[in-house]
């Protein structure tokens, strides 16, 4: 039997567990909670369900870690002092603004 067969079987069992066991949510439902989770606005009951899924689902755990790293990388890059936009003052723009101010 190929690894693909076992993967399919594993997926099927995991899907059934998420669907039928109490306090379980599917990965699709878990996805809907992520933004509120990071915002800290998930109600306590939903937070428990979210964390339970996270404990059980390796894929979502890894996904969430990479997702969190993506947020951190974006923040650093976005505030990068070496970004191509020059920090020097564009004189023509300053003049245009001050001219418009006096009109």
């Amino acid at each position: 039997m190929t690894s693909s067969y076992w993967e399919q079987l594993r997926g099927l069992l995991k899907g059934m567990m998420f669907k039928h066991m109490p306090y379980m949510i599917s990965c699709v439902e878990f996805e809907d909670f992520i933004s509120s989770y990071f915002e800290g606005s998930l109600p306590r009951a939903q937070l428990r369900i979210f964390e339970l899924h996270l404990k059980i689902c390796k894929e979502c755990r890894e996904y969430l870690r990479a997702y969190e790293e993506t947020i951190a990388v974006g923040k650093i890059v976005f505030n990068d002092p070496d970004a191509p936009l020059p920090d020097d003052v564009p004189e023509d723009l300053v003049k245009a603004i001050l001219d418009a101010r006096t009109k």
Binding site: E59, E69, G74, I76, P84, L93
Partner: protein, 212 residues
């Protein structure tokens, strides 16, 4: 235009204290030309950095900043001092940039759908196994890589990119973004999540420690 509380680091000029700022505002209200020039010079580069990633175009960003300053000068009487003047200018600039975006014909953009997570028929996530995840510090060490990531952020469709920038990088609250974009807070959360997911997919080679 409302102004909100902001840290001292975001004052009209970094290092300026509240007293200096009150004085500057009083001079602006009195029509002092030197004060106007000081305000422009100390904030223009910062505001271009705010507008450019939203508009993805230097000339348009300059237009937005120019219009923001003109609006600020006209409305200086309504500045209540509840935030720093730099935060107030930033808010006006974002507004101007968003107005420009709305008035422009949208450029050809890739669909966000191709960049969202994949699930199988059992609603289970399809995620290639991670043997390692590079730390953000490792990833951003190199200037070329930082530029590459910036380009990926700019590649995101406008509706998502704007929310990502305002919410994650500009540290605005969900409510503030919702008010500015005139959408619900839930819509902000959905767009933010999609933008982060899409960016994750775009920069995944880097996160996996591979060459992009």
């Amino acid at each position: 235009m409302n102004d909100r509380a902001a840290p001292a680091s975001a004052r009209a000029k970094p290092g300026m204290d509240a007293g200096d700022e009150e004085d500057l505002v009083a001079r602006l209200r009195a029509g002092d030309a030197a004060a106007s020039e000081a305000l422009v010079r100390s904030n223009i580069a910062y505001l271009l950095k705010v507008a450019q990633p939203i508009l993805r175009d230097r000339a348009l960003a300059e237009d937005a900043v120019q219009e923001a300053f003109i609006s600020a000068f006209r409305n200086i009487e309504s500045f209540e001092g509840r935030s720093s003047i730099r935060s107030w200018l930033r808010r006006i600039t974002i507004n101007m940039a968003l107005m420009k975006l709305r008035s422009m014909r949208r450029r050809d953009e890739r669909s966000i759908d191709d960049l969202l997570p994949d699930f199988d028929q059992n609603q289970c996530r399809i995620e290639a196994p991670w043997t390692r995840i590079a730390t953000p510090e490792e990833i951003v060490e190199d200037a070329d890589t930082r530029a590459w990531v910036r380009a990926r952020i700019e590649e995101l469709p406008e509706n998502y990119r704007v929310v990502l920038i305002m919410r994650d990088y500009d540290d605005m609250t969900t409510r503030e973004v919702a008010e500015l974009l005139e959408i619900s807070e839930q819509a902000v959360r959905v767009r933010l999540h999609r933008a982060r997911s899409a960016l994750k997919k775009l920069i995944e080679p880097l996160l996996r420690g591979e060459e992009p």
